[in-house]
């Protein structure tokens, strides 16, 4: 623990800490451009020079490249250091353009801050300014190379941190250019971070171009709900529209970055189609009228068929407050237990996946990035949880061995072993890989006798995991029951949706699956259904198919889903940007999001032509949406019931794992409860064993396969037009007589329920046999788990 003195204040830091970080601990912000917490030192900008007046290092040195050592005395405001930094700014400004007014970075620009705080205002140099031509870097990042100060942050992030190689530095000397070989979209799914990283306006957020200055935005800490990882973001809103999403530092989860899905999938809160007023039998009515009618109809239904004929269905993208309110209402009214998951099995598996996260075994995303061997089972990191891929990349950079066992073709920006196995073989893979490394070869042959090509990979996996000091297992919840009982092996589940963990924590164990609910509706046992923030057509096609049998379908939602269109009564709810709330990430971490804006139509749409309204003599349009939890509470009151004042707190008190937590005051980094007290996991049944036909595997794309993302215009624009793309092993295709060899782009049709969906078939050899990989789009939501031999045919 070196002890040093910075600006007269003593600080003690861990060995290996750089002086710039040590100063940060004291709250001293040494100016910097190239140094970044996540990227480390480059020593390129020379901006962080400080004076070492005593100790092992003497004289002017860069604080980012000097490790703190005992006895150092550092002066950050030494006249010589200040003069040096001023010279650096002067040099950087020799070629920096004079365009702050039209630069999007203005207002949160590091170079602007340093230039002004350093007092540089006049350019002494007589020479001309250097200019560059710009490139079109795709839909997310705007390029303005004249502003570049060559800190190399972008290239280091892009190539070293993320492992993508289509963007980087070119030329030498003072002509260094950062760009691509030719114009085109950046391949890196984390490229949006370049806008955050770039200390000037060279790389800026293109969709947010010219939208606002930072100081004009409302800002609030939020949590991303486009996958289950729970990355921390900052939402910036202006005129009731989310202008921009930025990464928010959380050392335990996403570090300093987020993926492009999380960054560019907002916008659903401002689409014109968003349900903004209550609807009663298809007509827009004042909210109070809809609520009164709803209470009356529910009461009548309960009177006629008994309260058990009413069911409530919760979403996996709602906050935990909403989920808890739904549960509380169902319990108070004596309705059927609330349903969240597609099947009881899925719920049990998700609960089991959380229950295994005891303190010695649970790993955070950041800890996955520090593991030295990771087995990823049933997860395709880049699509199921993009930031996981970045964490694996960091582990891999530090030398970790990464093994991914997944039926889909897996692409990752790092060296890894891919074991393409169908889900039914996951337990076997797990058993071999976590078993004794010496017996691995024999075990592999015994348990997977039909797949000799996997044996070497399995053996390496077993050896790597056995040799590792900090091995970790990333798994899909179905495997929770099969996990070995080994405290050495860290665990990190990846769940289906942003609030799957929340639902699993809160849902009563007797909660039915959506499939059971569908059967009940079909049989007439359920007459009334209250759907809270879920799209049945995507989540439960079986249930969606029988909606016509319901006497009453009530939907509370903020997305214009087909379920909303089918509802008798619609109550609009608020998004996470308007109500905030608590979300549980896949590792069980509870994190709070704050509201950033009020609901209501964005100013851009509210008013005449290009002007916002001039007179505010009428209520703000589109402000009917209310948090679903409020609506449910009002509904309870309409029914003459009383819900607890804070349903989540009341419910949590009864759950051993959550009892005693102060949910109203979650720490900034989130809180991960110890799940030892969670209800004992049910033995999750093994995934289906398919003997004939193709097992259907749903896969996410980077954009617009998550539910809110499907309604985000920008994310939607990133999806390819045309029929959905299916993936099939080339040998399976040959067996089915579809193609011989690796022909791409076969036109096929897929039997989905009683429809034939046209699709394009791509063949691969880097995937498991006996499976068909299907994109998670609503069109294809109703596929059977096993596709029969006639399910796929040539078109």
């Amino acid at each position: 623990m070196p002890d040093l003195i910075i600006d007269g204040r003593a600080v003690s830091v861990p060995k290996g800490t750089m002086v710039i970080e040590a100063a940060e601990r004291l709250g001293i912000m040494i100016p910097r451009f190239c140094w970044h917490k996540a990227l480390g030192a480059a020593g390129a900008c020379r901006m962080c020079a400080v004076m070492f007046t005593a100790g092992p290092v003497k004289g002017l040195e860069m604080s980012c490249m000097t490790p703190a050592a005992d006895g150092m005395v550092v002066e950050t405001f030494h006249p010589e250091a200040v003069a040096f930094r001023r010279s650096i700014i002067e040099l950087l400004m020799v070629n920096h353009p004079h365009d702050c007014p039209v630069c999007d970075e203005g207002g949160h620009c590091l170079l602007q801050d340093e230039t002004i705080s350093g007092g540089h205002s006049l350019r002494r140099f007589p020479g001309r300014k250097r200019t560059y031509l710009d490139q079109n870097l795709g839909p997310f990042i705007q390029h303005e190379m004249n502003r570049c100060i060559h800190c190399y942050r972008c290239a280091r992030f892009y190539q070293e941190y993320c492992g993508y190689r289509d963007f980087g530095p070119m030329q030498n000397a003072n002509r260094v250019y950062f760009g691509r070989f030719d114009d085109g979209a950046l391949e890196n799914p984390f490229a949006g971070n370049l806008a955050d990283l770039c200390p000037t306006g060279t790389l800026t957020d293109k969709p947010a171009r010219f939208v606002s200055r930072r100081w004009d935005c409302l800002r609030a800490p939020s949590v991303c709900l486009h996958c289950s990882l729970g990355c921390n973001v900052t939402a910036l809103s202006r005129y009731r529209r989310v202008a921009r999403i930025e990464a928010r530092e959380n050392a335990a989860v996403n570090g300093s970055f987020i993926c492009d899905r999380g960054r560019f999938s907002a916008g659903y809160e401002a689409i014109p189609e968003r349900p903004r007023s209550a609807r009663l039998d298809g007509n827009a009515v004042p909210a109070i009228e809809a609520e009164t009618a709803l209470a009356a109809r529910l009461a009548a239904l309960a009177e006629k068929h008994g309260p058990g004929s009413i069911a409530i269905l919760g979403g996996l993208r709602s906050t935990m407050e909403t989920q808890a309110a739904g549960i509380a209402l169902a319990q108070a009214a004596g309705w059927r237990a609330p349903a969240f998951f597609a099947t009881r099995t899925e719920q049990a598996a998700t609960q089991a996946a959380l229950a295994v996260l005891t303190p010695p075994r649970a790993r955070s995303l950041a800890e996955i990035g520090k593991a030295d061997a990771v087995l990823v089972l049933g997860v395709s990191p880049l699509f199921d949880a993009p930031m996981l891929a970045l964490a694996l990349r960091q582990a891999s950079r530090a030398g970790a061995k990464i093994i991914v066992a997944d039926p889909r073709p897996v692409a990752l920006p790092l060296p890894f072993t891919h074991l393409p196995v169908p889900p039914r073989q996951f337990p076997a893979v797990l058993a071999v890989a976590t078993g004794s490394p010496d017996a691995a070869a024999a075990a592999a042959q015994k348990r997977l006798p039909f797949a000799p090509e996997l044996w070497p990979g399995l053996e390496t996996a077993a050896k790597a995991l056995a040799a590792a000091k900090r091995p970790a297992l990333v798994f899909t919840p179905g495997l929770a029951a099969a996990l070995p009982d080994d405290d050495r092996l860290g665990l990190f589940p990846v769940l289906a949706q942003a609030s799957s963990a929340g639902a699993a924590l809160l849902a009563p164990t007797d909660a039915p699956g959506l499939d059971e609910l569908a059967a009940d509706v079909a049989a007439g046992r359920v007459k009334g259904l209250v759907v809270v923030e879920a799209d049945l057509f995507a989540a439960a096609p079986g249930l969606a198919a029988v909606l016509g049998k319901l006497d009453l379908l009530v939907v509370l939602d903020y997305l214009p889903t087909p379920t909303v269109a089918a509802a008798h009564i619609v109550l609009p709810t608020t998004t996470i940007f308007e109500s905030g709330g608590i979300l549980a990430a896949s590792d069980g971490r509870l994190q709070a999001a704050s509201p950033v804006q009020s609901p209501g139509d964005p100013v851009a749409r509210d008013g005449a032509g290009s002007h916002p309204p001039r007179a505010f003599d009428r209520p703000l349009p589109g402000t009917d949406p209310a948090p679903a939890a409020f609506l449910l509470d009002r509904l309870a009151r309409g029914l003459g019931l009383t819900l607890p004042r804070e349903p989540l707190a009341a419910l949590a008190a009864a759950i051993p794992a959550l009892a005693g937590l102060d949910l109203a005051a979650l720490p900034q980094d989130g809180l991960r409860p110890a799940f030892a007290g969670l209800a004992a996991p049910l033995p999750a049944p093994l995934p289906l064993s398919a003997e004939s036909g193709l097992a259907v595997i749903y896969t996410d794309a980077l954009f617009a396969t998550d539910e809110p993302g499907r309604y985000a215009p920008l994310a939607q624009a990133q999806t390819q037009a045309g029929p959905p793309v299916l993936l099939l092993h080339a040998d399976d295709a040959a067996a089915l007589g579809l193609a011989d060899g690796l022909a791409d782009g076969l036109a096929v049709s897929l039997e989905c329920g009683n429809r034939l969906v046209p699709a394009t078939l791509h063949l691969s050899r880097a995937m498991a046999r006996g499976v068909i990989v299907v994109p998670r789009v609503p069109d294809l939501a109703g596929l059977p788990p096993i596709l029969g031999p006639c399910g796929l045919r040539r078109r």
Partner: protein
């Protein structure tokens, strides 16, 4: 050619052609190797080099033995020797002459180094303008391989080492050790600082020794004749061995001379290089390649050795003497050097990437007669900034400017006062462009044909 100084590296130098293997062997070539492989331990060879106090000839003068000591002994896997033949410093051409004079001396030195550190792979990093030399080395490596001096089981022992040539595509920065390793690895050759030394983690993350070609060429002599002999070669108390001095500029006999370390600058210029060219008067000399300052006449009796020169505020560098006469404008010469440095920077750090072009711009103005006192102030302000650059490139570039401002301020002032170049050079605003520059006046270089081995 002078005969009164011991010729070690140039023993087999012939006019216009390289020495053959037979010639090299006749002069005792490969005896050191035969006496070493299987007979001495690597540690003994290292001790010889340490005792001989062999210092790097590439510019920095770091003791070679100390560098080799950094190689971890417990490393499993390949170790590399990288032979640095990337001399691109203006005024330096010794390595080219050396390769062309005696390729086998070079090869033997490389193998000895490899033996000492236990390397099995060697990379001969050579600059593109020495393509002929690259082919020569490749050819002579084949010859050496045929005779068992290179390749598997050298001289019948179980020591194997092979050497291949890596052609650079030309940038001065590739001469920096860590940048050179990156260049070989197919990465952008930005120098690397911090982290483990290249001797620990170099090429492909294996221990790697990067040494200048001339440094390694001294090994056969040291091993054969012992450290005491080697130290005795030098004329100064602290130095050891001989050195190849590249002399260019306005001297009567420009060329490359092997002279002891510690010989005075005056002796090199006025005895070995034949004094000033006819009709020229001495003004100043850059003693150690482009990244060393101008040396005033008063310091001509300085001994050419690492430590005495550093003590005098000068740098030994690569011992490439560029001699300027009274008729040469030093502002223009410095500008020429800055053109070189500004172009050859790798573009990594601010002082180098932005600072050197700024200096170039200021010097262009001064040389063109538009200079002001403020420009000099800016130059002075910039020098300490350059000194704190990422690698040694920018501090090296600052040296000539510092020399100019320290010793030849009168010349700079003359430009500012007269608002033109007092030597009659036209404004360099378009220098390097076809614009009609100085009055056509072509170099009256005397032709010492006997100096040139090519």
């Amino acid at each position: 050619m002078q005969v009164d100084t011991p010729q070690v590296l140039f023993k087999n130098r012939h006019l216009g052609r390289p020495a053959t293997l037979a010639e090299y062997r006749a002069g005792g070539g490969y005896e050191a190797l035969a006496a070493t492989i299987g007979k001495r331990t690597p540690a003994e060879v290292l001790q010889l080099v340490l005792d001989a106090d062999l210092r790097g000839r590439g510019g920095a003068g770091f003791p070679a033995g100390r560098k080799w000591q950094g190689v971890p002994t417990d490393h499993v896997g390949t170790r590399y020797v990288v032979v640095n033949t990337d001399e691109m410093e203006p005024g330096t051409f010794k390595d080219r002459i050396l390769v062309n004079a005696d390729p086998h001396l070079v090869i033997e030195g490389i193998v000895l180094c490899a033996y000492s550190i236990g390397a099995s792979e060697g990379v001969f990093f050579i600059r593109p303008s020495y393509e002929g030399d690259a082919e020569l080395i490749e050819q002579e490596c084949r010859v050496a391989r045929e005779h068992g001096y290179l390749g598997n089981n050298i001289l019948g022992s179980d020591f194997s080492f092979d050497l291949h040539v890596h052609r650079s595509a030309g940038r001065y920065i590739c001469g920096e050790a860590s940048a050179q390793i990156k260049a070989i690895s197919g990465l952008r050759p930005n120098p690397r600082k911090g982290g483990p030394r290249t001797a620990v983690k170099g090429l492909w993350d294996c221990p790697t020794i990067v040494n200048n070609l001339e440094t390694l060429a001294n090994l056969p002599g040291i091993v054969r004749n012992g450290p005491a002999w080697f130290k005795a070669l030098a004329r100064s108390a602290t130095g050891s061995g001989t050195k190849l001095y590249s002399v260019s500029g306005q001297v009567a006999r420009p060329g490359c001379y092997e002279l002891p370390i510690g010989v005075t600058i005056r002796e090199i210029i006025f005895e070995h290089a034949g004094g000033m060219a006819p009709g020229k008067t001495f003004k100043t000399v850059i003693p150690g390649g482009a990244s060393t300052p101008f040396l005033p006449e008063a310091l001509l009796d300085l001994e050419m050795d690492f430590d005495p020169m550093r003590a005098a505020g000068q740098r030994f560098g690569t011992a490439s003497l560029m001699v300027f006469d009274q008729g040469t404008c030093l502002v223009g010469a410095t500008l020429s050097l800055m053109e070189f440095f500004a172009r050859e920077s790798c573009g990594w750090c601010t002082p180098c990437r932005e600072g050197i072009p700024a200096i170039r711009e200021l010097l262009r103005r001064i040389e063109g007669g538009q200079g002001t006192e403020e420009h000099i102030q800016m130059l002075t302000d910039l020098l300490p900034v350059l000194d704190k650059a990422y690698c040694a490139f920018a501090p090296g570039a600052a040296e000539p400017v510092r020399g100019l401002l320290t010793h030849f301020m009168n010349e700079v002032n003359a430009h500012i006062v007269q608002k033109r170049c007092p030597f009659g050079n036209p404004p360099p605003t378009l220098r390097g462009k076809a614009c009609g520059t100085r009055p056509i006046q072509f170099g009256p270089t005397p032709c010492p044909e006997d100096q040139c081995p090519i």
